[in-house]
């Protein structure tokens, strides 16, 4: 790709088929390497932009307008040429597993960002279908003869796979729609990370009026997610660790709920607690210790 520019000089003798085979292999391996690099770059950019979005959403307690900004940013990540749009264009459907390791990090971080946004916005959990609907792209394919070899494999594929529908076709270019493949495991790993961000969000200021519901809903959300994911057997690679972290987050959220109840509502709520003694304890005695 890069070094095509180099003038390597023409040596056009007829060569042994074995040697020619080696040359073809060398070319193909190099193409593969460069593609891997390219896809890694998209993934890293997606990761970083998703992280920024998460950071933005966490400012919600201070500034409600961030949700609108976050929505824009998420749209940016899916549509920008340096993020998913570029990744989708670069990735041929038949190579999805070959390059999966190169882009799985970006996808997971993006799932985390989308799911966090979803919880803040709608107070509910992101579904797999919602995610997939956001990761469907229109790719413009150049049908000129030179690139024919590259486009002809993008034929409709098996179900649950990257499928594409030809929507439009003019003489030389056509627009093709296809959905990026996200393994469910990646979906759940990304979703697991949301619990960490919720833990962070619930830790911050208690000033918002709906803080109590937010706190208890977060806690319930994380509890349900943890309880259900614990049920998977056997745990796929990576899930076991995430479950550990998730449980730690859950405990922290429960601790926050506990303190909320014990410290704040113990008197006013309709508890059947009784006090040892009277209100003397509430109106503190400011003297006697210093």
């Amino acid at each position: 790709m890069m070094s095509e520019n180099i003038q390597e000089g023409g040596e056009e003798k007829v060569e042994d088929p074995v040697i020619l085979g080696f040359k073809r292999i060398a070319e193909n391996l190099e193409k593969r390497y460069r593609k891997y690099e390219e896809i890694s770059r998209f993934s890293r950019d997606i990761t970083w932009e998703s992280k920024r979005t998460i950071s933005l959403i966490l400012g919600y307690t201070c500034d409600k307008s961030v949700l609108k900004k976050a929505e824009n940013r998420l749209r940016f990540i899916t549509t920008n040429e340096k993020c998913f749009q570029g990744l989708a264009t670069a990735l041929q459907p038949q190579d999805k597993y070959l390059f999966l390791r190169a882009y799985t990090g970006g996808v997971q971080e993006f799932v985390e960002a989308v799911a966090l946004y979803n919880f803040f916005k709608h107070r509910k959990i992101l579904t797999y279908e919602d995610l997939l609907s956001q990761l469907t792209f229109e790719v413009t394919v150049d049908d000129t003869p030179e690139s024919q070899a590259e486009t002809k494999e993008t034929l409709p594929n098996a179900e649950n796979d990257s499928s594409e529908i030809v929507t439009e076709k003019n003489d030389k270019k056509r627009t093709v729609k296809f959905a990026l493949v996200v393994p469910k495991t990646d979906f759940f790993l990304g979703l697991s990370d949301v619990t960490g961000e919720l833990m962070r969000a619930c830790g911050s200021s208690v000033k918002t009026p709906d803080f109590k519901t937010f706190l208890f809903e977060s806690c319930a959300f994380v509890r349900v997610l943890h309880q259900n994911l614990s049920c998977i057997s056997p745990y796929p690679r990576g899930l076991s660790n995430k479950l550990g972290t998730m449980k730690a987050n859950l405990c922290k959220l429960e601790m926050a709920c506990y303190h909320y109840v014990v410290d704040r509502y113990v008197c006013s709520m309709n508890f059947r607690f009784t006090r040892f003694s009277n209100d003397d304890y509430i109106e503190g005695d400011d003297s006697g210790f210093e």
């Binding site: 309880q227 614990s230 429960e254 506990y258 113990v266 607690f273 009784t274 006090r275 003694s277």
Partner: protein, 240 residues
Amino acid sequence: QTIWNVIEHYQKELDGESELRDKIRTVVKEIDRDTKKINFILLSMHAKPTEENLKVIAAKARKMFETAIHTSTSALKEAVPVGDHYKYNDHWRITFQRLAFVAATTIYLETGTVCTLREAADLLGIMSAEDKESVDFKVFLDYEDYLVGLVDMSAELSRLARNCITFGDNIAKVYSIHECMNKLTLGMHNITFKNDYLRKRYDGMKYHVKAVEEVIYDLKIRGLKVTNSNSDETAATEPK
């Protein structure tokens, strides 16, 4: 007899063992799945830890033990040859630890006490390590796995104690948990662990005890107490 015969015998043994291991692996996978299902049932105790609810949960868990788990531990006992427990127990060690954990938790919810090794083994449908000498032993619940299960339970119970206040309005349970964990900690204190893993886990238990003590402290400092005033009994937290 030549080296060829030896290798033939060896290959036969390898094949037999490999087949056996496959069988064991399949059964253990089954047990693992059922254990996780029981754990799923038990985990819902945190959401609403009222006394009635805890009993309902324990009953559901016990039913799973008596159907699913008993069936699969029977299959395991059938598969493993007499005397080969130590040769193959790597396959089920971790699963048994988790199983001991869910069994101990179930029994605690039922009775409010720490179960013994035999009680735990009974619920699993297998022999206990204490009885392994008396008959041709196959699969049994080993001391360490039982103890790991208890330690895991204590982590879960300290979490439960907090949730008893937050979500269950169940102060009495907190005192019961405190008593139970004290008994456990003191009981295990003098063991000279050969097993580093267990020792580390045990060392972590003191944080769980402390967490429960903090809940009790919070109750005390705020003057909250159990209405049916069974605080007298629970004050005696020493093991009997």
